[in-house]
Symmetry: C6
Subunit: 242 residues, 6 copies
Amino acid sequence: MKRVNTGIPGMDEVLHGGIPERNVVLLSGGPGTGKSIFCQQFLYKGVVDYNEPGILVALEEHPVQIRENMKQFGWDIKKFEDEGKFAIIDAFTYGIGSSAKKEKYVVNDPNDERELIDILKIAINDIGAKRIGLDSVTTLYINKPMMARKTVFLLKRVIAGLGCTAIFTSQISVGERGFGGPGVEHAVDGIIKLDLDEINGELNRSLIVWKMRGTSHSLKRHPFDITNKGIVVYPDKVLKIK
Amino acid sequence: MKRVNTGIPGMDEVLHGGIPERNVVLLSGGPGTGKSIFCQQFLYKGVVDYNEPGILVALEEHPVQIRENMKQFGWDIKKFEDEGKFAIIDAFTYGIGSSAKKEKYVVNDPNDERELIDILKIAINDIGAKRIGLDSVTTLYINKPMMARKTVFLLKRVIAGLGCTAIFTSQISVGERGFGGPGVEHAVDGIIKLDLDEINGELNRSLIVWKMRGTSHSLKRHPFDITNKGIVVYPDKVLKIK
Amino acid sequence: MKRVNTGIPGMDEVLHGGIPERNVVLLSGGPGTGKSIFCQQFLYKGVVDYNEPGILVALEEHPVQIRENMKQFGWDIKKFEDEGKFAIIDAFTYGIGSSAKKEKYVVNDPNDERELIDILKIAINDIGAKRIGLDSVTTLYINKPMMARKTVFLLKRVIAGLGCTAIFTSQISVGERGFGGPGVEHAVDGIIKLDLDEINGELNRSLIVWKMRGTSHSLKRHPFDITNKGIVVYPDKVLKIK
Amino acid sequence: MKRVNTGIPGMDEVLHGGIPERNVVLLSGGPGTGKSIFCQQFLYKGVVDYNEPGILVALEEHPVQIRENMKQFGWDIKKFEDEGKFAIIDAFTYGIGSSAKKEKYVVNDPNDERELIDILKIAINDIGAKRIGLDSVTTLYINKPMMARKTVFLLKRVIAGLGCTAIFTSQISVGERGFGGPGVEHAVDGIIKLDLDEINGELNRSLIVWKMRGTSHSLKRHPFDITNKGIVVYPDKVLKIK
Amino acid sequence: MKRVNTGIPGMDEVLHGGIPERNVVLLSGGPGTGKSIFCQQFLYKGVVDYNEPGILVALEEHPVQIRENMKQFGWDIKKFEDEGKFAIIDAFTYGIGSSAKKEKYVVNDPNDERELIDILKIAINDIGAKRIGLDSVTTLYINKPMMARKTVFLLKRVIAGLGCTAIFTSQISVGERGFGGPGVEHAVDGIIKLDLDEINGELNRSLIVWKMRGTSHSLKRHPFDITNKGIVVYPDKVLKIK
Amino acid sequence: MKRVNTGIPGMDEVLHGGIPERNVVLLSGGPGTGKSIFCQQFLYKGVVDYNEPGILVALEEHPVQIRENMKQFGWDIKKFEDEGKFAIIDAFTYGIGSSAKKEKYVVNDPNDERELIDILKIAINDIGAKRIGLDSVTTLYINKPMMARKTVFLLKRVIAGLGCTAIFTSQISVGERGFGGPGVEHAVDGIIKLDLDEINGELNRSLIVWKMRGTSHSLKRHPFDITNKGIVVYPDKVLKIK
C-alpha cells in the first residue's frame, strides 16, 4: 500500500510510515489546537518535498489571509499556485469583494454540496492534485447535523475515487470527548485528535491517532510544538493526561 | 445447543464455545475499535474454516472497498463470491456508479426495510448462508431512532427464522456507556462491546461480553490486538480500566 | 399477610419471607442482567413447587422462543400449558405468522391497553392464575412515556383486584440510576434492581431490594449467579460497589 | 408561635418543637423512602395523641388500600373516620368502582384544581381539620410542570387560610439533588428530605430538614428506621454520606 | 462614591463599606438559604438605622404574611408603612381577596412589566425611597427565560435612574453553580451568593460576593447564621467547602 | 508583524509582545471576572500611551454609566471623545432617553447587524480608530445562536479590513469550559479566558491565553488583580487550579 508522507517532522513515525493513500483523515481539535497549521503544512510540504500538488478548500478564512498566515511559517504558496501545483478553493467569500474576484476557484454557495464537489473535481484535474485539505468540514454541516454523514461520504467518494488523500479539519468544543459527531467519526478512514490541555496551570499540546485504516500506528499520545517553522511532533515522547 | 465458531483466535474461549446458533449479536464500539474487522473475520473464517457460507450487508462502505480492506488481512473473498459461498449485499451505493452495476445484490433504498429484508432472504437462499454480518445496524435507524427496536426485531425474525447466526455492528460515540440505545440493547440475543481506552497516554484495546443468550461466557474484560492477520483476543488476560 | 414464594434460591430470605401477596413488583435492570430469567423462574417454580398457576405476558419475544429459552434451564412449561396451569399471552407476534396461529391468548395490538387487559382478565379466570409475569412493561410505553404511570396503575388495579401477585420487568440503560422513570417507580408496590457492574475488569451480578410494600426486607446488595438451573441469590453475601 | 407535633418519635426534637402552625411542608424523597408512611403517621398521631382532626388527600392510592396499609402499622383509621375526626379525600378513583361509591369525599377530576380545593374546604369544615396530608403533590402537575408553582400557592392559601398545617409529599427520582422543582421548593414553608442511600452495599435511611419557616431546626442529617409501628427518627445520631 | 449600609452585622465589612449607591445586586440562592430574610433586613434596617425609606416588591408571598414573618425577627414594618417610610408593592395577590383590598400598591398583572414599573415609580416618589427589595426577580421571567435579561435591564434603568439601590433575590436550584442565568448574571451590578451545603452530615450556611461594581470586596466565602434577630455574617471567618 | 500593546501591566509579556495587529480577540469570562475593565483599559491606554484612537461599542451598559465606571479607575474618557480620539457607539439605549440624545453614534436596532456595521465604519473613519472594544459580542446573538459564527465573521472582516485590532467580550456561565460557543471560538483570531475560581473558600482571579494567531504566547495560567488603577497581570506567576 502506498503511503503519503505528512511533511510534519515526527508524524510519519507516529503513523508507521505516513497516511495510506486515498484515506480521508479527520483532524479533530478544539480552538487553538493547530488544526489549520497541520493541514497547511501537509499541503505545502507535499508540493515542496514530494512534488505532490495539493488543494486547500477554504471554508473558514479568506484566501488572502490564508496565504498571509502560511507565509509566517515560511510557506510561500503563491509561487506554487502560479506554477499550477497548488490551488485554493475559495468557499469563504461567496465571490464577494474585490480580492475574491482574483481567485480562480470560487464556490458561490458552500451550502450547495454539488457546486463544491464540481469545483473540487475541476481543480483536482487542473493541477493533478494528490492531496486535499478541507478546513473545516464542520462548516459544511454546522446548521444541518443530520446531513454530516452523507456529506462526508459524498466527499470521500470523489476524493478517493480520483486518487487523492485528504485531511478534513473538524472543529470541536473545548473538553469534548468525541471527534465531531458519530456520523462523521465512523465514516472517515482515519482520526487524528489534537489536544490542548491545562495541566498544573500550563497548556500542553499533544495528539493521538485514534484510527487509521490500512496501517498500524502508534497508540500513544505524543506531545507536539508549534514552532515558527510549523508543527513538530515527538514520536519518542508520551504525554500522560489525567 | 449448536455453536457457531467465531474464527477469531481466543474469542470462542471467551464465549465458552462460540456463539449459540441463531443468535443475533450486537457488536458495539466507538470509531476505530475494530467492529468491521471483527465482522469480516467472522464471515471469512466461517467460509474457509467451517464451510459456512456468509453474507455481508454493506451499509457503510462500497463493496469494492470492502473487498480491498479484507485483502489487507489476507482475506480474499472474491473467490468465494464466485463459488457462491459468500455474498455482499450492497446497501451503500444505491445502485449508482459503474462498479455498483456489477454487484449482484443491491438494495436501492436502505431506508426501505422491506426491500432490504427481501434481498437478504434471496441471498440467504441462494448461497445457503449460515452467517450474516450487518455493518452497521446503526445506519438503518440513524435518523429515526424510534424505529430502532422494531427494525432489529424484524431482522432478527428473518435471520433466526432462516437458521442463520448474525453479527450487527453498532456505532456508538467515544466514551458512551451504552451499546446503541435501550430499544436495541434489550432486543438482541447477545452484546459484545469493543473498547479503545486511553490509559496513561496510550490507547488500549479490549472487549467484554455483556450478554449472550443460551450460554455462559467469560465475564471478564479481555485485551485484544488487531494484527495483519486480523483480530486476536487474549482469553487468559484481563484489562482493568478506571 | 400472605406471602408468595419467589422460587429463586436465596431470594425469599432477602425478602424476609417472599413477596407480599397482590404486590406488583418492578424488576428493573439493564441489558443482560437476567430480568427475563428471574421472571420465568418465578412463574415456573410457582406452578411446580407451589401449585400456583401463572401467566407470562410476552411483549419482547416470540412465545415459541420463550418456551425454548425456558427449556434450557430445564423448565418445560408446555406440559403445564396443556394442563391449564400456565399460559403465555402473546403480545409479541400481533397474531402474525403460522406459529402465532397456535397460540391461545393473542393481543393483536399491544398499544391498545384495553385489549391487553381484557385478555389478561380472561386468562386469569381460565387458569385461576395467582402469578403474573409481564416482560417487559417498558414496551407498553416506550414511545409514550407520559402514559407510563397511568398504564401501571391500570394493570395494578386489575392484577391486585383479581388476587394475583406480579413481576413487571423494566428495561433501563446501562449505568442508569433510576428504575424506569419516576411515574412508574412511585406507582409500583416493590422495586428489585438487577445490576451488572464491571469491577476491576470483571462483570459482577448483584441485586438490591429498593422497596417492598408490606414487609421489611434486606437492605443489602446481594450477589447472584445465573446457573444452568436458573438464578441463585446469596442472602449471606454483600457486594460493595463503587 | 404555636407548634404542631409530628407524632413521629424523634422528629419534633429535630424540628426544635414541631412544625410551626399553618406551615406547608414539602416531604421530598425517591421511591421507597417512606414518604407515605411519614404522612400517614403525622395524620394518625394527630388524631390519637393530640386530638387534631386530619385529612388525607389520596392521589396515588385507593382509599381502601390506604386503610389497609395503615392498619399494618396498627393505625386503624376507619374508627376515626366514623367519628368525624379523620377523612380521606379520594382523588384517585375518579369515583369509578363500587368501593369508590362508598367514599364520602370524591374528586372526580384531579386535574381540576378548583374541584379539589372546593372539596378540601368542605372536608376541613366538616371535621374541623387541623392537619392535611397530600400524597402526592407531584401528581397534580406531573404532566404540566409549568403549573407547579401556581398549584402550590393555591393550595397553600386555602390550607393556611383555614388554619391548617400540611405535609405535601413530593416524588423525586433516585439520586436527584433537588426537592421537586424550583417553582415548588421556593414556594413551600418547609422542606424535609427523605433519603435512601447505598453505602458499602447497604441501603441507609436518613432525613434532613432543609428549611422550615418560623423556627430554627437541626441542620444535621439524621438516620431513621421504618419499624412495624411506623417511623422512628434518631435526633442524636448523624449520618455522613459521601 | 456613596455607600449604602446593608444593616446586616458583618456584611458591610465583607463589602468593604456597603453597597455602592445605585447598584442593583442579585442575591442568589437555593431554597432555605435565607434570601428573603436578607432582603427584608436590608430594607428594615435602612429605615430604622439609616432613615432611608424602602420598598419591598412582593412577588412570592402575601403582604400580610410578609409583615408576620418580619415580626418574628422583631421587625415591625407596619408602623413605618403608616409613617410613609416603607411600602410593600403587592405583586402577589393580583388584588384578589379581602386583605389585598387594603394594600395601597397593587400590581394586578405581574406579567405586565410596564404596570409593575409604573407602580414602582409612583411608590418611589411617594415615600422618597432609597432602597428597593424585589423578592423574587425569578418570578418575573420564570415562564419566559428569553426575557430575563431585558426585564432586569428595564428595572435597573428605573431604579438606578431614580437614585435607589436594590436587592433582587434570585431563586436557583440546589447545587446549581450559576446565579440565575447568564442573561441576568452579567446584567446586574453585583452578585451575592447564599449557600447551604451539607458537609459531613450537617448543613452549613455561607455567602460569597462574586462581583460588586464600584468597590473592592472580600473574595472569601464567609459563614453566616440566621438568628432570631436576623442574619449575622462572620467577616473574619472563612468556610472551605468541597 | 506589528503588535498592539494592551496597556495592561504584565499582559504584553504574556502575549510575547502584544496582540498582533488586525487580530480579533475573544475575551471570555463569567460574571465578575473583569471583562469590561480589561476592554476599557485596552482602549484608554491605547489613546493615552500609544496615541491610538479607539471605539467602544456599548451593548451592555449606558454610555453615561460607562464613562462613570471608567472614571473610577482614573480613566477620564470624555476629554478624548471631545478631541476626536475616542468614541462610544451607543448600542444600548436604542436612542431612547434624554441623555441618549446627546450621544454621537447611536445604533437604533442592535439586532440589525448592518446598521451596527455601518455606524462602526463611520466612527472608525471619523477618528481614525486603531482599536475596537465590543462589549459584549454575546448580546448580538443571545437569542439567535445559529447566527453567532456569521456575525463574528462579518465584524471581523470590517474591523481587520480597516486596519483595526479588536477585543470582543464574551459572556459565559460560571464554570463553563468553553469560550462562548464553537462557532465563535473557531472564528476569532485569539482567545483570552478570564477566570474566577473558588479555592479553599477564596476567589482567585487568573487568565490564560488559549490561542493567538500570529504569535507565540505564554501557555501558562497567570494570576491577576483588579486594582483601583485597573488590571495588573503577573506574567511571572502561575496559578494551578484543580
